[in-house]
């Protein structure tokens, strides 16, 4: 009871840009970004699965970077740009990575899918920006987007688990989306 009273007194107002819109909500400081997106803003695309930074299903973008929304606090991201899977579509058109997941059947139950897609979009950008990975033969050399092999995709996507083990189709979808990007 004491902690409930304490935390009510500690509610903070958070303003952030979510999927291109200015949003404002009041939460306790301990509220994760994931819980704020789902419970305060009704954005249930980011999934709450392990809630410990182990599965990747809560992946969103903060200022364009892929992060785990379960492992950070909403109030730490006031003023930043958050993108969830709900914010990808443009004028009725799916994002190329979403389109590729449909074409390549990159999911079964779908619970990990929004995290997989959000992760893949940012991962392709990281590779095209020249970031190496643990699968890169020689980190001292520049990495090119064209070097994004199946082994590279698997390593770079290892933070997103799929309990249905739909990995072959996920990798194919991402490889195709990377080619189109």
């Amino acid at each position: 009871m004491i902690s409930t009273q304490t935390s009510q007194a500690l509610t903070v107002q958070v303003n952030m840009n979510v999927n291109g819109e200015a949003r404002s909500f009041a939460v306790e400081p301990r509220t994760t970004l994931l819980d704020a997106l789902r419970n305060e803003l009704g954005l249930t695309g980011p999934k709450k699965s392990c809630d410990r930074g182990e599965c990747g299903s809560c992946t969103v973008h903060i200022d364009g970077r892929r992060v785990l929304s379960c492992m950070t606090l909403a109030a730490m991201h006031a003023g930043q740009q958050i993108t969830t899977i709900e914010g990808l579509e443009r004028d009725g058109q799916l994002h190329p990575v979403q389109q590729a997941f449909i074409e390549y059947d990159g999911f079964q139950c779908g619970f990990c899918t929004s995290g997989q897609i959000m992760s893949a979009i940012a991962m392709i950008r990281e590779a095209q920006a020249g970031w190496p990975s643990a699968a890169t033969e020689d980190v001292t050399k520049a990495f090119r987007g064209a070097d994004l092999s199946e082994a590279e995709i698997r390593e770079r996507m290892s933070g997103n688990l799929c309990r249905c083990s739909c990995y072959p189709n996920i990798v194919d979808a991402i490889a195709e989306a990377a080619r189109r990007t």
Binding site: S3, T6, S7, L10, V12, E28, P29, R30, T32, D51, R52, G53, G56, T59, R65, R66, V67, L68, M71, T72, L73, A75, M76, S119, A122, M123, E126, A129, G130, W131, P132, S133, A134, T136, V139, T140, A142, R154, E155, R156, M157, S158, G159, N160
Partner: protein, 331 residues
């Protein structure tokens, strides 16, 4: 989660004063370890000080004398992608890339990385099993429990945990320094002195005192890092903590080893430097594998494996040998 207040602090002096004054305050940067610890009730801070807005602390720079300075707020992914780091210290870039996942590397700060707490399952357990690190005096459930992932060097009856950081192993091998700003002064701690052995105070991971803020890690200019490599062995190929890892940097004179720097991860409460082996490796030709093996063995005479981790003694020697050969090929 235990409730707490959160304040954003934009000035390092104010951050240090606020931390020094309140025994229940904790700094938060990336939060990827701290949030997990709070969720698992392994730590219960009443006040979080968000230091992400501190100016100038995310820089990665080559110092005028040629050394490397990595700001404590630099993100793991930015350090791993930095071309100077990759060229001059591949062991640093590789150790970062073999850690965590893409999402976590985008969040996790370098200062927080070396402050990570052990992944010992007994320490992390939400049910509060005996753990002297979590609850001093409660005992060590791992000592006679499942200790396959635990230490083979430097442990005490109070704690057999290992340190989980990968890049800390690289920093230890490279004789880096941790730059710490406290309430009174700034000081530089040799990396191998930064983390503690468990002894009688396993709740203490490192030499950080209340009011201390890590501002940077520096690699001195004299350190030759080009011919270096990080080799990590784990139960699955990606996104997993080390069973055993090795950070190696060598200088080669002709075909012989002029100097070798060796540190192991996954074997002790801190990154474990192999000084005796380093000494013994001097002047041995890199292609004389049997001699290399004998020299490496010099650092394993004091290995003390537990019930389930004797395999680490042999595995660690093989990991060092292979990392040494790969690093040497880069010379």
């Amino acid at each position: 989660m235990h409730p707490f207040t959160l304040s954003r602090i934009s000035d390092s002096s104010a951050a240090i004063v606020a931390h020094a004054r309140d025994p229940h305050a904790a700094f938060i940067a990336g939060g990827t370890d701290l949030i997990g610890l709070i969720k698992d009730r392994a730590t219960r801070p009443d006040r979080l000080l968000d230091i992400n807005g501190l100016p100038g602390m995310a820089a990665i720079e080559i110092l005028p004398d040629g050394g490397l300075r990595i700001g404590a707020l630099a993100r793991m992914s930015d350090v791993a992608a930095d071309m100077e780091v990759r060229h001059r210290y591949p062991v640093i870039a590789e150790s970062l890339l073999f850690a965590a996942s893409g999402q976590l590397r985008n969040m996790a700060s370098m200062g927080g990385n070396i402050m990570q707490r052990t992944r010992c399952a007994y320490f992390r357990d939400e049910d509060d099993l005996p753990c002297n690190k979590r609850r001093p005096g409660s005992g060590c459930a791992a000592l006679y429990g499942v200790n396959r992932n635990h230490a083979i060097f430097g442990w005490s009856d109070n704690c057999v945990a290992t340190h989980p950081s990968d890049v800390a192993v690289a920093f230890a091998a490279l004789d880096a320094n941790v730059i710490i700003r406290g309430p009174d002064r700034e000081r530089s701690i040799p990396f191998t002195d930064f983390h503690c052995l468990p002894g009688h105070t396993p709740e203490r991971d490192n030499v950080i005192e209340r009011g201390d803020l890590i501002v940077a890690v520096e690699v001195p200019a004299r350190i030759e890092g080009r011919a270096s490599h990080y080799l990590k062995v784990r139960d699955r190929q990606s996104y997993e903590f080390a069973l055993v890892s090795a950070a190696v940097a060598v200088a080669i004179d002709g075909k012989r080893i002029e100097s070798a720097r060796l540190a192991l991860g996954g074997v002790a409460h801190k990154p474990w430097r192999l000084r005796a082996a380093e000494e013994a490796l001097r002047a041995i030709p890199l292609n004389e594998t049997d001699k290399l093996k004998l020299a490496i063995r010099r650092s394993f005479t004091d290995a003390r494996p537990l019930t389930h981790n004797a395999f680490k003694v042999e595995l660690a020697q093989r990991v060092v040998l292979r990392a040494l050969q790969i690093a040497g090929a880069r010379a």
